[in-house]
Symmetry: C2
Subunit: 286 residues, 2 copies
Amino acid sequence: MEPVLESLLADAPLSQENERPPRLMAAMRHAVLAGGKRLRPILVMEVAELFGRQDDGVLTAAAALEFIHCYSLVHDDLPAMDDDDLRRGRPTVHKAFDEATAILAGDALLTLAFDAITADPVHEDPAVRLVLTRELSRAAGIGGMAGGQMLDLESESRARSEQEIRTLQAMKTGALLRYACRAGALLANAHEGDVDRLTRFGEIIGLAFQLADDLLDVEASAETTGKATGKDAAAGKATLVGLHGVDATRAELAKLQAEATALLQPFGEKAKPLIELADFISNRNH
Amino acid sequence: MEPVLESLLADAPLSQENERPPRLMAAMRHAVLAGGKRLRPILVMEVAELFGRQDDGVLTAAAALEFIHCYSLVHDDLPAMDDDDLRRGRPTVHKAFDEATAILAGDALLTLAFDAITADPVHEDPAVRLVLTRELSRAAGIGGMAGGQMLDLESESRARSEQEIRTLQAMKTGALLRYACRAGALLANAHEGDVDRLTRFGEIIGLAFQLADDLLDVEASAETTGKATGKDAAAGKATLVGLHGVDATRAELAKLQAEATALLQPFGEKAKPLIELADFISNRNH
């Protein structure tokens, strides 16, 4: 993953004979090349491989998704949003640079994602690339990630029902994880039924990811996660762990893990890496 | 233009069964439906009409470009950037709402643009819609508008050569105006030579727009423009007017106007609306 991210950043396309401002490039690299888990691009690649596709075009689509994820972290970390100084154990972009640069670096990464996803190697059929582009926009936009972040910020100031929490989480983190799995299947020309199956797998991954994240916030220390913890409760943010407690949340996670495994059962041994990913997501401690 | 912007905002597509957060929708509407000049979408539409196309698909592509323009204004107005309280005589988005909402509204508008530009009615050929999508990303990204804004922020802290100023302006405001004209020609299946001609026309419009803007900043009152003026000099921002003076700038504007008119001469009477637009841009007082 890292070489593709590096080269797409280094070769960030220009409008005409214009230049790449070095400070903006540096901030974008700081945001992207920070050794994240690369969960979303790995999902794209593993799902595509499940259906027999594994090449640079898949990597490019996966990188587009990672750019979207990284932009969202840069903007979420801003003082006006979650106000985080630390991300993956390093200073956040607005701390390493400044706020204006962080806003622009996020904007430029979001924009670059829509260049990468349209690249010729992504899929030979322009119509498929258009679908991938449009669905990426919807997963990231007002009905997806950006809308979820808005609901999350609002939830600091008022109580939320379980359904409201589930909706905001499906939007804020679920939409991109769902897209990752769906995109992998579309990239590899999977049959419609299989696209639906992997889409559902992505939704389960999204739910499990959020539950595990909420558990981590309650249980882990800042040392393990490399970021500040216990912030949800301090900020008055409603979570499912807060509503149902740690034990019930662990039980729900186990159920999701079983559902994920059952969904991929028809693919036999080939699905092992994806099932291991689902396990990792449910049980991660960072 | 307004009904299309309204309906694309109202029908902002959802990822799945998710919701549109009302506060984010309101902030996006505040940013877009504020009675701007609509210069970029009008250029798209007038150029497409020059080559005989005039329908809802053109309007949708034009709206995508306006969303990009409006997102950039919302982010540029933020305290960490240009710190403007007033835009078109109304409170800026972060003043009417708050900073976090303004950041997210900008992000969501940028994202929505890439949904709109991929819409089926934009062009019957998916390959053309992909080109329009990719070029929109490049005009808006690190080698275009976002990169230009970075250079502009940096120019507050050090002197810039004439070439540097021209590059930053070609990126910050030029790239989208160039794209507007180019997209209009591509939408209407203009021949390659005509696409190049209209691309050059867009570049001239971009130069003229920036020179007229710099002149306005020096000359106009806050009353006429509906925004704070004299800010460039106060911020120590280098402009071509600052380098060459008002008279030389007026002379360059007249030359650009003549070049724009000459470029469209082969189209005869049909090009009149575009030539009038070029004149308006060169001579506007707000």
